[in-house]
Assembly symmetry: C2
Homo-oligomer: 156 residues x 2
């Protein structure tokens, strides 16, 4: 299309593919009782994981400051996806844990992603989809959790 130079297409298609999956995820999450969740939140909850974390730790995982992580936690707490509890071992720390509602969103996200993957497999064939993921795995860093994308794009 408008980009005559073929090199432009590779990054754009990667981004578009990501967008399509995320948009479909959130459309479906909205139908399944999670209308307020935003793309970023899924990443953050994935980073929080099942065993909980702290603001500082979360900031490190996401590649943002502890203050930014704290604000995101504030938001997720406000809409009911996480809760803060004190750490009896270390009174300074506040453990951030997913609420049952948050766990529900995370589980559903996994299921929806799974069904989206199956849709891609039905369209492309399991073999080619495997090849695609395998090739991407080969060209990308091994630690999937460099999720500092919010902010990485967009800031001057």
């Amino acid at each position: 299309m408008s980009s005559a130079i073929p090199g432009f297409e590779l990054p754009l298609r990667l981004l578009l593919g990501f967008r399509v999956l995320i948009d479909e995820l959130h459309a479906e999450l909205g139908r399944q009782g999670h209308p307020d969740i935003r793309p970023m939140h899924g990443f953050v909850m994935q980073a929080i994981g099942g065993h909980g974390t702290t603001a500082v730790e979360l900031g490190r995982t996401l590649g943002v400051s502890k203050q930014a992580a704290g604000k995101t936690i504030d938001t997720l707490e406000r809409i009911g996806y996480v809760e803060r509890t004190v750490d009896p071992q270390d009174t300074r720390r506040k453990l951030v844990r997913l609420t049952p509602y948050g766990m529900d969103a995370l589980v559903r996200s996994g299921q929806i992603f799974e069904s989206l993957r199956q849709r891609w497999a039905a369209e492309l064939g399991e073999e080619r989809l495997d090849a695609l993921v395998t090739d991407l795995r080969r060209m990308t860093p091994p630690d999937m959790f460099r999720l500092d994308t919010p902010g990485w794009f967009g800031t001057l």
Copy 2:
């Protein structure tokens, strides 16, 4: 790794692949005389294209408000990548055009993307890379220029 559910990997790898390419692009652009350019700017300049545009038109292309497009143009103007000229046909309109410096960045971006693509081809094989792009083209919308990604991610 941490995501036990395989469906999570597909979107993350797509995003990671995009990130790797964009990060390498900007590292190289920095070396080639464009240290101040940001990921978003490449997209915007690509959207502006060779024949110029206006703030309203640019906003529509990028999927943001005309005010947001105007602010981005302000920034690009300040750092010397675009210039505004009046439209003699319509005195209300201000045509936004790439400066020679901006054109240089766009041309270099194309060349760098091209060499990155070649690196991927060397690693994966031309055939598999073609298959990857072909498959992504199949699963993504045809209009590559829905570049409203700045803001789409990240906002509550």
